[in-house]
């Protein structure tokens, strides 16, 4: 969108205005006092030995070998149509978990997420198999994202060309385990970005690949943003947040620490991280 297209301007003038400043706003995502708790088996404190586990069972201690990780603690916000929202915060602050909860992939412990249509996470990695050729992975990944076979056939050439896998020879017909980490990351991004999305969520996707590919993928994200209702972007790269987002949510320890226009929040965040 405009911000992205004229990124240099946006950067220098801080043109992003708080969304509140404009007309009738249609909410696309509403999070209401959202809590996410992971339960981890076998993460209990103390020795991990069999005797320790037995001891716990016999003594019927409260934790029963299950530990709870309270990853998101009471986050509320409303996202509106046309917004690009950045999510920032240190590692383990609950950014990715929040995205997955918005996508409805992790059930909420308490609170609710309302969404317009089906939000989709730009992450197809899990569906791909290293033992299969790149070619079959393109098809499998597309199907896993809910594309039809015709759509995949139509876009197949585009996906392969975008990934640049075949630039150094016919690699697409080799198993993915033979790819370098950069190559497989590029292919994964290309597959994921091939689909049109309603509410789109991107988790650190820009960090992959070489400089040239990063440029290309940023361009693709801008395109996706044009087609999508709202975009969420998780990144540790403040520059790419500044280039693409007009609103930023700052999470720390699972708590929403700040929610506002990009410049304001980023300034506070940079101060916080001591940059």
């Amino acid at each position: 969108m405009a911000v992205a297209e004229k990124s240099t301007q946006a950067e220098t003038s801080g043109a992003a205005l708080p969304p509140a400043a404009t007309g009738p706003r249609v909410p696309t995502v509403i999070a209401e006092d959202l809590h996410i708790v992971y339960r981890v088996n076998g993460g209990a404190r103390g020795k991990g030995s069999a005797t320790a586990a037995l001891n716990r069972m016999i003594r019927r201690s409260a934790d029963k070998g299950v530990r709870e990780v309270h990853a998101v603690k009471g986050v509320s916000f409303t996202a509106y149509r046309g917004e690009a929202i950045g999510l920032i915060g240190s590692n383990g602050s609950g950014k990715s978990t929040l995205l997955k909860a918005i996508a409805g992939l992790i059930p909420a412990e308490r609170g609710k997420v309302y969404t317009n249509g089906q939000p989709s996470l730009l992450g197809v990695n899990a569906a791909l198999m290293n033992d299969l050729t790149g070619e079959r992975n393109v098809i499998l990944g597309g199907l896993a994202m809910g594309m039809t076979r015709e759509q995949i056939r139509e876009r197949y050439e585009g996906i392969v060309a975008f990934s640049g896998i075949n630039e150094k020879g016919d690699f697409i017909t080799l198993p993915m385990r033979t790819y370098s980490s950069g190559m497989s990351a590029r292919l994964r991004f290309s597959i994921a970005a091939a689909k049109d999305h309603d509410v789109l969520m991107i988790d650190e996707a820009l960090a992959t690949g070489d400089k040239k590919f990063q440029k290309r993928s940023e361009g693709r994200i801008r395109e996706l943003r044009k087609e999508a209702g709202s975009v969420f972007l998780v990144s540790h790269n403040n520059k790419s947040i500044r280039d693409t987002c007009d609103r930023v949510l700052w999470l720390e320890h699972g708590v929403l620490r700040m929610d506002g226009m990009t410049d304001e929040v980023l300034k506070a965040y940079e101060k916080f991280t001591g940059k």
Partner: protein
């Protein structure tokens, strides 16, 4: 899910696209405002809009007003079946990919599809056919096909259960990354086992012909038998998938349960003959003989083997086969669907 998302035509950054947010120019249509940037540029001054009436609404009311739905809520059963049907290509592609990936590192590659069940049958032949004398009066030319059929049919059920237990628990990454009806996974895994069995059937056909059991009019019966067993296995895999997602320990426990079930089903010995040898009450014999694994095995042997011990089969066996498939198939599906929104918590 069909994802032909038809958004409104996007406006490509023409100046008319950028909203000059005067109070009079508020766009009414949702579609029109779809792609309008919330930002203004080049020093344009945005005028604050009057406070929106939405501000007073609670999140739930706001959601209702704009038709937002709870993310990750469980769809109705009908809707669920429809979504699942829409993902049929994924289910098939996933099962084929798993099957293919299974042996892709081995030198012999896909030959193992056939070799693995064959080696299994060989082991059982030496133990039960030669060492323990559990063949119940069958000659080699009848016992070997009997044994191989049993092993292959049993492996189909066993592997479906085992992969069912891990279907959700072992694919949490996938469940947490993408949206699809979760039943796709257990169904996909039992479909993988069905394809594996079809490879085994080629071996079986060769063995049968080698022992002079030539194709007869009964052979086509294997199609309905396999279909029924597949429905039964899928139902069972769905049940195990839900249980296994809550209690991953089942993956450790299941091998023992399955081994008990295997010995109680007469995979490598004629069940009735073995039971009669012991002093076991009649009703218990009937119960054991009515268990689904035995039922599908018996039907398959009846269809394929042309020997004195496999000349006829009671109609009640067919009834049992259909009954097990319907009850476990539908029951398992509903049981799995009931927890649809909770998979992925880990």
């Amino acid at each position: 899910m069909a994802i032909d998302q038809t958004g409104p035509p996007s406006c490509h950054l023409t100046s008319s696209c950028l909203r000059t947010s005067g109070a009079s120019s508020h766009l009414q249509s949702e579609d029109e405002s779809f792609n309008v940037s919330e930002t203004t540029h080049d020093g344009a001054v945005a005028v604050n809009s009057p406070p929106s009436p939405d501000d007073k609404l609670s999140p739930a009311e706001l959601a209702a007003k704009y038709g937002l739905t709870v993310s990750g809520a469980r769809p109705g059963l009908r809707q669920y079946v429809r979504e699942l049907w829409a993902r049929r290509h994924f289910i098939l592609a996933f099962s084929q990919a798993k099957l293919h990936a299974q042996y892709s590192q081995a030198k012999l590659g896909q030959v193992w599809q056939v070799l693995t069940p064959l080696l299994n049958a060989t082991v059982f032949f030496f133990i039960f056919g030669v060492l323990l004398g559990g063949r119940g009066g069958m000659e080699n030319d009848e016992y070997i096909p009997f044994l191989v059929t049993g092993v292959f049919v049993w492996t189909f059920t066993q592997q479906s259960v085992m992969s069912g237990v891990r279907a959700i628990a072992g694919n949490l990454g996938l469940v947490r990354a993408l949206h699809f009806p979760r039943a796709s996974l257990p169904i996909s895994f039992s479909l993988q086992q069905l394809q594996q069995l079809l490879y085994s059937m080629i071996v079986l056909a060769v063995i049968l012909i080698g022992f002079q059991h030539y194709p007869s009019g009964l052979w086509p019966l294997i199609v309905p038998v396999l279909a029924l067993q597949f429905v039964f296995n899928t139902g069972l895999a769905l049940i195990m998938a839900r249980l296994g997602s809550k209690t991953p320990d089942l993956a450790q426990l299941m091998p023992f349960v399955l081994r008990t079930w295997m010995y109680a089903s007469g995979v490598m010995f004629p069940l009735e003959y073995m039971l009669r040898k012991q002093d076991i009450p009649e009703w218990l014999t009937d119960v054991v003989a009515g268990n689904p694994a035995t039922v599908y095995m018996e039907l398959m042997r009846y269809a394929l083997i042309d020997g004195p011990h496999h000349q006829h089969i009671g109609g009640h066996v067919w009834l049992l086969a259909v009954g097990w498939a319907v009850v476990v198939g539908i029951g398992g599906f509903v049981f799995f669907w009931k927890a649809e929104e909770r998979y992925g918590r880990g």
